[in-house]
Structure formats: structure tokens, C-alpha cells
Amino acid sequence: MKTSSFPGRYDSLAKVSEFVVEAARDAGLSSEEVYAVELAVDEACCNIIDHAYGGEGKGELNCSVIIDDGKLTVILSDHGKSFDPRSIPDPKLKVPIEKLKPRGVGLYLMRKLMDEIKYETIPHRGNVLTMVKRKHEDT
């Protein structure tokens, strides 16, 4: 397990990306899978900054990665506001462009991009998001 902490600001996103992309490559994921992890983590970090902390510069983004055979686990934690992911409905897709509201695809993307995703609020540790990406059989 490797862990790194980043200031909860948008300009940390590229650094978080580097950190998880390196781990995803080390885990032997294909380039599509690496991109999936990179995007899911970016969306998750934005949500932490925007919703858990309510803006930039309010708290840390803690990121851990665990590689074990054929899978990568990414754990993101924050000390901001908690929420219940089950209360968030899937976005409406295929809406005519004029009617689109610019929000609400991050969580959906994370679910589609990763194989497992779990959100917990743990006393003293804060909100802990655990996401798993498995290496595809034939890669």
C-alpha cells in the first residue's frame, strides 16, 4: 500500500492522477483500464472538493493505492460532509442538449468505470471511498 496526501484544490488533480496512473500501470492494467481509473479518481476527488469540503482549500485529499494479484484498489478519504450515495439517482442520459443540466454524471461514471465502489463514514477516519479495478482476463 502506498499513500499520499494532496491539498484539496483543483491543481492537485494532475498530481493525484500521476499517483494513481503509476499504480494502475504497475498493477498491469491495460491502457483503457488505466484511463478508467484515472477518470474515476478525478471525478471522486472533484466531488470531495466540491461537495464534501464545499470548495477549494478546505481540507486534504488522502489517497492510498493497493496492488494485489490482478486488481488495483484506490482508497480516497476526506474529513468533510458525508452523504448517502444511494440517495443519488442516476442521471438522465440521452436528454436533448438544450435540456441538459451541467451536473450529475460524476458518480455515475465512477460506478461504470470501476468494478467495485464502496462509500463509508468511519469515526475518526472520515468519509472513505474504496474503488476497485480488476485486470481483464485477456490482457
Binding site: Y10, L13, Y35, C46, L93, I97, V105, Y108, K112
Partner: protein, 111 residues
């Protein structure tokens, strides 16, 4: 992320290199707004060297697409979108909002 702009007779080409995320999307938004505010609504986004686009980036492009398509005065089209980026776009049903070309010349020639 680096952006460069080229104004042609009938369209503007915006070349976007690097990452489009919450940190850099505002700069892209600003560039796109400057074009739209100049009354130019035919925009080619050259993504040949764009290696990452988060949902924040897509929303930026979609807001511009809305403005451009209004009154049928124009359109935003994309060039050379990486397969990974494209599949994430399709995942959220946004692929249908953009024409995608494999060749910059063909995209420019479409206007």
C-alpha cells in the same frame, strides 16, 4: 493544458493539448467564450494531443455547443478523440452531442 487558437475564414480551430480537468477547464471555457462573444459559432476542437477530459471538461464543451447550435448558427465539432476519452463520453450518452472527425482538414472543410 495548452490552448492555441486559429481563426479561419469560416471557423475557428481550438487546439487543446494535455489535460482538461476542473483545474484547466476554466481556461478552455474562457477561450471558447472569447470566440462565441466575437460572434463566431463554428468551432473545431482539435483533440489530437488531449490526453484526459473529465466531466467538467465535457460540460464546458457542452455549454459551448448549446450556444453555437442556438438559431442553427453554428456547431462545435471534435477532431481525433482518443478511444479511451471517447468511450467515457459515450458512457454518459454525451457522444451524441458532437460530431467527431479523424482529420483536422475534414473537420475544417465541413463548415
Amino acid at each position: 493544458m495548452e490552448i492555441s487558437l486559429t481563426e479561419y475564414k469560416r471557423c475557428d480551430v481550438v487546439t487543446v493539448n494535455g489535460r482538461v480537468d476542473s483545474s484547466t477547464a476554466p481556461k478552455l471555457e474562457e477561450a471558447l467564450n472569447s470566440i462565441v462573444e466575437a460572434g463566431r459559432y463554428k468551432i473545431v476542437i482539435d483533440m489530437t494531443n488531449t490526453n484526459f477530459v473529465s466531466s467538467k471538461g465535457w460540460w464546458t464543451l457542452i455549454e459551448t455547443q448549446k450556444k453555437c447550435k442556438r438559431y442553427r448558427r453554428g456547431e462545435v465539432v471534435l477532431v481525433n478523440v482518443l478511444p479511451e476519452i471517447r468511450s467515457s463520453l459515450d458512457m454518459v450518452g454525451m457522444g451524441s452531442y458532437f460530431q467527431i472527425y479523424n482529420d483536422l482538414t475534414a473537420a475544417v472543410a465541413s463548415f
